[in-house]
Amino acid sequence: MNKSTPSVLVVGGGIAGMAAAKTLDDFGVSVHLVEKREYLGGKAFDWACMATGECRNCGACLSAELADQMNHLKHATIHLKSSINGIKKNNDGFGTTLNSESSAVISTNAVLLANGMTPFDASRLPELGYGVYDQVITTADLNNLLKREGLKEILPDTTSPAIAFIQCVGSRNRELCRDYCSQVCCKTALRQANKILHNIPEAQITVFHIDLQIIGKEFRTQAEYVKARVNLFQGVPAKILSDREQGKLTVIHEDPETGARVARHFDLIVLSVGIGPSLQVIEIAKQLDIKPDTWGFLSSGALLPSGVYAAGVTQGPTDILTARDQGIIAAHKIIQDFNILSKTKHNSTIAVLGESKDSGMICHALSKEGWLVVRLDSGNHQAPEISGVTSFYSVSLRSVNGTVGQYDLLFTAKGYEHNIKAASIIVVGDAQMVLYSGLNDSDKIKSLSQFVDVFEKTPAKVPKTVAFWLDRQKQEWKDHARTCLHLATALAEKGQTAIVIMEKMLVHGLKGQKLYDDARHKGVRFLRVSNPAQINVISDNGHLVLEMNEATLPGVRLSAECDLLVLPEAVNPPASAPEISHFLRQQCDSEGFLQSANVRHRFVGSPRRGIFFLGSCHDETDEVDIAREINAVKASLEALTTSNIRTEPLPAINENKCARCLTCYRICPHAAVTIKGNYKPVIVTDACFGCGICVSHCPAEAISAVCELDSDTSGITASKTVIFACERSGELALKSAMNMEMFSNKTARIIKVPCAGRIGEAMMIQQLLNGAKRVIIAACHEGNCRSVSGSRLAAARAKLIVEDTGLQDNSIRHYSVAANEPVKIAKIVSAADSGKEI
């Protein structure tokens, strides 16, 4: 640590600000965290859990968890109910006064602006009737209803209410000076639709959209599931009428079959309002002499003076998970810029695994910062040497043992066996690019990479008219969609003709919409096709003719002529994914890409310390994502080596009791148990998460407990309810229920556990023996458990006990409760009190 630790003012106690504050605090940097509300957490804190039997990966609950962690920061001062009064740059940093405290000037070396977001004010579009009709609400309003479980209050008394979502309200609109995609609202709407369907299975849900933005592994696979259960219509109604007679809301829409304008009636219409920067940013930017971009974001285009950083929606529209990542990355950048990291300390080796163009980038980035990098490339194309990087080619893994700080990799390279030790492993395998199939006319059809080659090397050979066909087999990989957009625009600029066939245009990133607008402006023709199977490709007289049913012109069989058809490659998980996931003991996601979609480890991490994923091996990533992921990996690596202070209680194996059954080795979700010598399991402290799953599973009871509360009978309340609450979910929900006065800890006894997987059968039964009438296990939703299987294991155990013993069904029961579900947990407890079932 540097002698002169700097201090940082973090403006905004939302997810980005909190993540940054936590990271800075971990590195001993003193932080002033300024939040205008009376509690931390930001907008995400208000957001309802979207789980429907399983976690839907929205990330909102992480805000509650981070807010709780803020109470334990060591070097932070938190200023609640405060906002910036004045901020001035001076010689060695910034002087800030807050509106809340007298005239004391807070001096810091750096300022991180994480002011959060402002939702679009839907009443600016009067024809939508927001504020006029009670049944027109925004996604934010719907969220509040879902959060307090009050949706039914505004729906008519029917089992199948008709509900519509209208996308892009206040986004993607040049006339409103908001010509950017807000990035989050498609995800929000589909998740909310799914949640409604979970609560009201027969609800009739319609989503009117322009181009659904289904991006990112957290969302992609679920989206297919939701899409199958809602009506999707392309085209967003901009006028809502009330139908007095029917008591419904009416919108007019083009029938995709007949092409006629038809009226559709709804009981509730939800406006997917876009997001913009917080208004306070403008004020602060003025004082710091920063020019925000045209939309008011401090995007990369808006050059920030030294010492000023931005994260979260302040720098562009982002979802919760990205905002968290940006907070961590910004904090890491501050740490770097202020030389808090010593340059010499990295003598640990990082292994970079997989064949990929991206591996060069990460190797370079790491070696530049003094890490020793070993590149294990499964391909045999020798890449240019990078100083400080040792490369092996034609690598084939044999085994991976050990834990963080001391991974042991055995592999062959060009036929020879090698063995290296590495502190961390970064997997950078490439996804497989599969050439188009089913079409024959090889000289007039090219894959995207073939076309890029021609375009770059022999532009004169690019014919007059080029058609790009996206979304042919499934939704286009976002990087391919973007590349086609760039190429089509470039062709149009040169006076050639570019046609893009698509189901929808992905407009990811802050500039995505502008690129799309620009392409149309320059004359690229976009054709929407909702059913690619109806496209005919005919060879005709030296041309190709594409015949299709274009979605905006129902009833017209449209044909387009081109000289060359470009078909982007289909993208499949890397061929090595099964093997790597096996060696690293890591799950793949449901599409077969590496890394599970669990938000607690996204974007680059894993349940196993020191194992990271980067690039297309685990998700669709473009240049911007890769750059962010590299930074995120770097930040995580620093965190692993620098702030290695473990405070939580960790288990240890009592050698004398251990039966060498190796249950712990098999069951540890974090692979923190290694085997030494003669089948002797050892828990590696650095790798252990302290979940206690091994403790509750060891048949010999040889592992010391992480929490010792089994036999304590004190505090059994009159209602005789005991709640085992996961400290990351149920317990946080109970805390906020208490704050909201929906629950009192006098009603039930709460036993906080590090993970529900810690709760053994004996612990559960013991509570009944101690006089409890009912045991509730409040733990993470499936897919959200940090220890992967902890919550699931507890649920199975509870069920088993009840079944085996013939106890009453509700005497021991597991509930999935996220940290942001106080209403749900309060209802569960009060139902228990009254003997009712939820």
Binding site: L125, P126, E127, C168, R172, N173, R174, E175, L176, D179, F208, I210, Q234, G235, V236, P237, A238, K239, L241, T250, V251, I252, H253, E254, G259, A260, R261, V262, A263, T465, T497, I499, Y516, D517, R520, H521, G523, R525, F526, L527, R528, E550, T552, L553, G555, V556, R557, L558, S559, A560, E561
Partner: protein, 402 residues
């Protein structure tokens, strides 16, 4: 139906040129316009996005043969919120100039244009007709006012105001002309009408033949310049006002040598300057106001008629929505001028009728004689017990003579 995309169709070459409103290449198929067309969900009616898309993809003949371009009321209600700032009338109206479209031009419109180009008046009103009519009106006026000075002056060179009537005022709605004359009489300043100057309308605008529209504009402008007036005062006519006030300078390539004013603006000015006074009790009940699309949304005149109305009635009731978002009466874009469209006009006017009904008033005012006629017809058709008048006519009734 089969159609082939054309990248450089003749129609496309007409568009995307002007900096405002016909940038159809930029349409991102958001569908906003489709949901907003004033036709609502009646059968028939145009689908604005389809029109834009046909134009954008170079499907000229499909577009030109479509009923949509003639059904479109050119009201721009659909594109008020177009995220790309596309203005619908610039697409639909221009499409009417495509050869296939001209063939399909309603016969009434064809005839009207021809007559106007030949005679200077859409109904072929001759100088004799004019003199005869004015004489008749003057008799009435002088009787009524008991003042020979109440007569309409004609062919007065150098008059301060030249009044340009709607042809209907010299035919079926002569009462309106009398009312306007009473207003001028009350202003007490020199004014005139002219036999060369009987038609404020400009059907060239409806068919987007810039040449026709320009010729018609010049018929009016040059005549007025000959007479040497200071101000040309237009009768309440939405598209006539839009053409003369907003488009003329561009089309004829110069500023006319006079000011173009609406009778409403002049009346309001006289009222505010104390030249005339209007009876605040004239209509002691609420009156609703309909924004003509051409006057309001397209020309930006929203307040003058409301202010004038506010002086003479108990309360100006707004139809919802109004102003920029006002709904077309259902007779715009030459629909009213086509005698074959009467049935369709009752459908396209349903939205307006619903609005009027919801407003719950007994009296409705507007500031365009075309709207006035359409409103009168839909009110009757939908059996609403509502009287329809123009604002200027109501003002004329409310004049208090000193």
């Amino acid at each position: 139906m089969n159609a082939k995309i054309c990248i450089d169709s003749p129609f496309l070459s007409l568009l995307n040129k002007k900096d405002k409103g016909d940038n159809i290449s930029e349409c991102m198929t958001c569908g906003i316009c489709t949901s907003r067309c004033s036709w609502y969900d009646g059968e028939g009616g145009p689908d604005p996005r389809q029109m834009v898309r046909m134009a954008q993809l170079g499907l000229d003949s499909l577009l030109a043969q479509s009923y949509m371009i003639w059904d479109c009321m050119l009201c721009n209600h659909c594109t008020v919120e177009c995220p790309m700032g596309i203005v619908m009338e610039n697409v639909a109206r221009k499409a009417r100039s495509l050869p296939d479209a001209i063939e399909r031009m309603p016969q009434d419109i064809k005839n009207g244009i021809q007559t106007r180009l030949e005679t200077g008046d859409v109904n072929g009103f001759t100088q004799e007709d004019f003199i005869e009519t004015i004489e008749w009106v003057n008799e009435e006026l002088c009787d009524e006012m008991d003042d020979s000075k109440a007569a309409i002056p004609t062919e007065q060179k150098g008059a301060k105001y030249l009044y340009l009537p709607n042809p209907r005022e010299l035919g079926t709605n002569i009462l309106h002309l009398q009312a306007m004359a009473r207003l001028f009489y009350a202003f007490g300043e020199s004014w005139t009408m002219s036999s060369r100057h009987t038609d404020v309308t400009n059907w060239g605008y409806f068919v987007e033949d810039d040449d026709i529209e320009k010729t018609m504009l010049l018929q009016v402008i040059e005549a007025a310049e000959d007479i040497g007036v200071e101000n040309l005062v237009l009768s309440e006519c939405g598209h006539g006002f839009f053409a003369l006030r907003k488009r003329a300078e561009d089309l004829i390539g110069r500023k006319p040598k006079f000011n173009v004013l609406s009778i409403l603006e002049v009346t309001l000015d006289k009222l505010e300057n104390g030249v005339i006074s209007l009876n605040p009790e004239a209509y002691p009940y609420p009156v609703a106001y309909h924004d003509p699309c051409n006057l309001g949304r397209k020309s930006g005149v929203f307040e003058a008629p409301r202010q004038l109305l506010a002086h003479i009635c108990k309360e100006v009731v707004e139809l919802t929505p109004n102003r920029m978002n006002a709904v077309c009466c259902g007779g715009g874009g030459a629909l009213l001028q086509d005698s074959n469209s009467t049935k369709r006009r009752m459908i396209s006017g349903k939205a307006k009728a619903d609005q009027i009904k919801a407003a719950g008033v007994k009296h409705l005012a507007t500031a365009c004689l075309s709207c006035h006629r359409q409103l009168t017809e839909i009110v009757k058709y939908y059996e609403l017990d509502v009287k329809v008048d123009t604002v200027a006519a109501l003002a004329a009734e409310a004049i208090m003579h000193k």
